[in-house]
Amino acid sequence: MIEQYIPLILAILIALLFSLFLLKASSWFGPQRPNPEKLSTYESGMEPVRTARERFSVKFYIVAIMFIIFDIEVVFLYPWAVNLKNLIDLMGFFIIAEMFIFIIILLAGYLYLLKKGALKWD
């Protein structure tokens, strides 16, 4: 089974080598004539004002938190879903009910989110 993963590592290796080749190629063919104007930050022709690295809104952070929670839930669904046909033969309706309980627990959380307006982006 591990053997099947070797091509994936090789693919990443090839991607890195190919990118290295392309970027090297551009440094062979491209000129290198930097000047302060050219190296300044692009701001549609204006003088750059301050740095871009300011504080960001917490909204992005909340989106990331919600993503992690729902992501973990969906990841839990995968092993169950792949096996569903065999499991139904094995345990019948019980298996679906079990998963529905899991989904309903999270759906309750989702409805709470909706009610509290956490999903609003304004």
Partner: protein, 357 residues
């Protein structure tokens, strides 16, 4: 399988696998990306009643090759205020993330870079490398447009990953496998056996499944549009307000690599749709090789059908880009969290009930 054949041919597993893993890059991604850019420009021209590129070669066919030759001669600028190590690293991370996904795509019954059991799941996972790459590029540029573009882009990609994963899991419930090659194999020739039409098993379940599977496909398609930052979800690179989004500061070949990765990603998400819902490499009308009795023709046909169906979906993405207006950020989040995610959950429950029959 071609990787094993190559390994035998060279007498060394490593070299065989290395060449097999490199095949999609040189035989498909590069020519495809060149002509996808050309197609995008021609499609947009057609839709806006223009001519589009028509100077280099007949009907402008060599325009993108000329573009790439031009880009390779451009100066590689690293802005003075940029964070140099991250600035240089970002294109590598993004391109590696895109190309790693190609290694698990089943191009035909005899060629798949790596026939892993977790196929789809793996592809959805490696796309998160691109997410980090985008953040890296946006941060490193020290440009306001880049950083805003990167933040919006990442918030959007992670949000839409939830409905995309849900749509896939609801299809997987019926299919019972994550291996893309196996999934394609199940949908034996003739298009009514595709999973979007309920799968190969005839019965009442098949007819009940048609509507939920179509909904699952539509949810996945919308979410995948958002994941590759295409219109109507292209607010991260909205030209009119953010110049070019997270790669504003990149020039020359580095810029070209972001472009390559973007078009590569468009094909990857289309290929997932094709493999799961539209029969993968299976031909919709049976094989010519079968009726003529030429067995080597079948794999060639399979490659053709896979690439053809994938490219068709890419073309649909382009068509949408030049038809629909852009969504606002709040609309974007509303669509994802208030519509797509609950619909995907309802669809999941629906398919779960149908599988009981």
């Amino acid at each position: 399988m071609i990787p094993d054949y190559l390994a035998e041919f060279f007498g060394n597993k490593f070299i065989g696998y290395l060449i097999a893993a490199a095949l999609p890059l040189f035989l498909w991604i590069l020519p495809y990306a060149l002509y996808a850019v050309y197609a995008e420009r021609k499609v947009s021209a057609f839709m806006q009643d223009r001519i589009g590129p028509n100077r280099v070669g007949p009907k402008g066919l060599f325009q993108t090759i000329a573009d790439i030759l031009k880009l390779i001669q451009k100066e590689d600028i690293v802005p003075a205020s940029a964070d140099k190590p991250l600035f240089v690293m970002a294109p590598y991370v993004i391109f590696a993330g895109t190309f790693a996904a190609f290694a698990a795509l089943p191009f035909s019954s005899i060629y798949i870079g790596s026939n892993i059991n977790l196929g789809v799941f793996y592809i959805m996972a490696v796309s998160s490398f691109s997410v980090v790459g985008i953040l890296m590029a946006g941060w490193a540029g020290n440009n306001k447009y880049s950083l805003y573009g990167a933040m919006r882009s990442v918030a959007q990609i992670v949000s839409y990953e939830v409905p995309a994963l849900l749509a896939i899991v609801s299809a997987v419930m019926v299919i019972g496998s994550l291996n893309l090659n196996e999934i394609s194999e199940m949908q034996t020739a003739y298009f009514w056996n595709w999973w979007i039409f309920g799968g190969p098993v005839v019965g009442i379940k098949k007819f009940l499944l048609i509507i939920p599977m179509t909904i699952a496909f539509i949810i996945f398609f919308i979410a995948s549009l958002a994941e590759v930052n295409r219109t109507p979800f292209d607010i991260p690179e909205a030209e009119s307000e953010l110049v070019a989004g997270f790669h504003t500061e990149y020039t020359g070949m580095k810029f070209a690599m972001f472009f390559l990765a973007e078009y590569g990603n468009m094909f990857v998400v289309s290929a997932i749709s094709v493999s799961i819902f539209f029969g993968g490499w299976q031909s919709p009308f049976g094989y010519l090789g079968n009726s003529l009795g030429i067995s080597w023709l079948i794999p060639v046909e399979q490659v053709f059908w896979f690439l053809f169906k994938g490219s068709l979906l890419v073309l649909v993405q382009m068509w949408l880009r030049w038809t629909l207006p852009r969504l606002r950020v709040d609309q974007l989040m509303t669509v994802c969290w208030k519509y797509l995610t609950p619909y995907a959950f309802i669809n999941l429950v629906l398919i779960g009930i149908i599988t009981l029959f």
